[in-house]
């Protein structure tokens, strides 16, 4: 029991590594704030393009979405980070990480928004068009607001996944929370920093998980 305390919950070490981990948490938040809006915008773009019902465009979009959903995000990240130098493209670390996560995240958000668009009855678009709204105006005022509300639980769930995803950036030594925790662990020969990092993730993400449980139970119950 005592070893458990000194190795996993060592208060001395916690005090020492706390600022360093907080720095890492800052990077985790920044990375999330970059990747989530980009991914949402990309996903919405995919859904809007596929609502045009152009056959070839749709095939291209499906290939994009399936391709980047099939790759484990870490594989994508490693491929971009270690593969791009061979193409003589020198991407800064943050950009490489953001690009890898964007490709993955936008395809997931794309699928979610597409399902949302499909959940809106055709009559909604027709009613809007019959009063003279353009396709674009009808999308913005009538389809997107309803679609977003219909798939809100999925959007939040995927947002949670994106924040968890940022921990992979530690593999290429981007100084985010997990990366800093592992460095601190190596320096202190003690597991406390990683446990502390886990607690910080819990604190950050637990409210989202709770919210999600509520929304999901409600939405399945409606079907």
């Amino acid at each position: 029991m005592e070893t458990l305390l000194t190795v996993f919950f060592n208060v001395e070490i916690m005090k020492k590594v706390w600022p360093f981990l907080l720095q890492g948490l800052g990077m985790t938040v920044v990375l999330s704030l970059v990747v989530i809006p980009l991914g949402l915008a990309g996903g919405l773009g995919i859904a809007i393009l596929s609502s045009l019902q152009r056959r070839w465009l749709n095939r291209v979009l499906i290939v994009y979405v399936d391709f980047f959903r099939a790759f484990p995000p870490l594989v994508l990240l490693i491929f971009i980070y270690f593969g791009f130098p061979f193409l003589q493209i020198d991407l800064p670390k943050f950009a490489a990480v953001a690009l890898g996560f964007f490709l993955n995240t936008s395809s997931y958000f794309g699928e979610i928004f597409r399902a949302g668009f499909e959940s809106i009855p055709r009559g909604q678009l027709e009613a809007a068009r019959s009063t003279g709204l353009t396709r674009w105006q009808a999308l913005v005022s009538v389809v997107i607001p309803q679609a977003t509300r219909n798939v809100l639980p999925d959007l939040i769930s995927n947002t949670l996944e994106v924040i968890k995803l940022t921990s992979l950036a530690s593999v290429v030594a981007l100084p985010e929370l997990l990366n800093n925790a592992r460095q601190a662990q190596a320096l202190t020969y003690n597991a406390t920093p990683v446990v502390l990092a886990a607690l910080m993730y819990l604190l950050l993400l637990w409210p989202i998980v709770r919210l999600l449980s509520r929304l999901e139970h409600k939405s399945i119950a409606l079907h």
Partner: protein, 236 residues
């Protein structure tokens, strides 16, 4: 951290690209190792899916017994393992547990982490499915003298599981892709083998072979998910 880029300086851009990404010599040298990684990834994936789904279903069934302290524990378990990034769990199991004399292999650490995460998500999905079965179904079955467990088994679960297939398929795929995280603790699965081959040879071909291996493994999954979704969309 970047590997040495090992390209003859006199090559044209296209030749350099082909040499770095589509190099048959390098592919020939490493494909066996990558194939072994493929077997490890597949085996890890299968064990994770089985463990995660079985544990998740068991927890959901346990939760349907409405024992308050037990339910509290199940909810805490599900919340924690849905909130924590899987890589954090793997790292704690692999690097931190040895400090308390509980060292485990890279395979065990990855398998256990992903199974716990899948169990947490699967429990929530199964539970939502159980809740979605109308109360009248319970009452009808109980009125014919069936026990709570019998009702669950013969009446509620068959209906609940149908509803859970699409979300479960997506979740299983997302978590199975997490097998690549094993590379961080030096488990010799596809990503680990191909990225170390790539830095050893100073050539990106093994990475590309590895990427293809993942496509072979997961594209059928993606298609299955699509098929499931259209199938269930008709029924609605």
């Amino acid at each position: 951290m970047n590997p040495v880029v090992n390209v003859p300086p006199t090559m044209s851009t296209l030749d350099r690209f082909l040499f770095s990404f589509f190099n048959p010599d390098i592919a020939g040298r490493y494909w066996k190792a990558i194939a072994e990684g493929f077997v490890t990834t597949t085996w890890l994936g299968v064990t994770v899916i089985i463990t995660g789904l079985v544990v998740g279903l068991a927890l959901a069934v346990a939760r349907a017994q409405h024992v308050k302290p037990l339910n509290f524990c199940i909810i805490v378990f599900a919340d924690v393992f849905r909130a924590l990034p899987p890589l954090v769990i793997i790292i704690i199991l692999f690097f931190a547990f040895p400090y308390i004399e509980m060292a485990m292999s890279a395979f065990t650490a990855t398998w256990l982490s992903l199974s716990l995460v899948l169990a947490a998500f699967a429990e929530e999905i199964f539970w939502a499915g159980i809740l979605a079965v109308p109360k009248g179904q319970w009452e009808a079955a109980r009125s014919t003298g069936m026990s709570r467990l019998e009702t669950l088994q013969h009446v509620v679960l068959p209906q609940a599981v149908r509803m859970t297939v699409p979300p479960l398929t997506n979740r299983v795929m997302a978590i199975t892709k997490g097998t690549a995280l094993g590379s961080v603790v030096a488990l010799h699965e596809i990503l680990n083998v191909s990225s170390s081959a790539s830095s050893e040879s100073g050539n990106a071909t093994p990475l590309l072979v590895g990427a293809c291996a993942y496509l072979i493994l997961f594209i059928p999954f993606v298609w299955f998910g699509r098929w499931i979704e259209t199938r269930f969309a008709w029924k609605r």
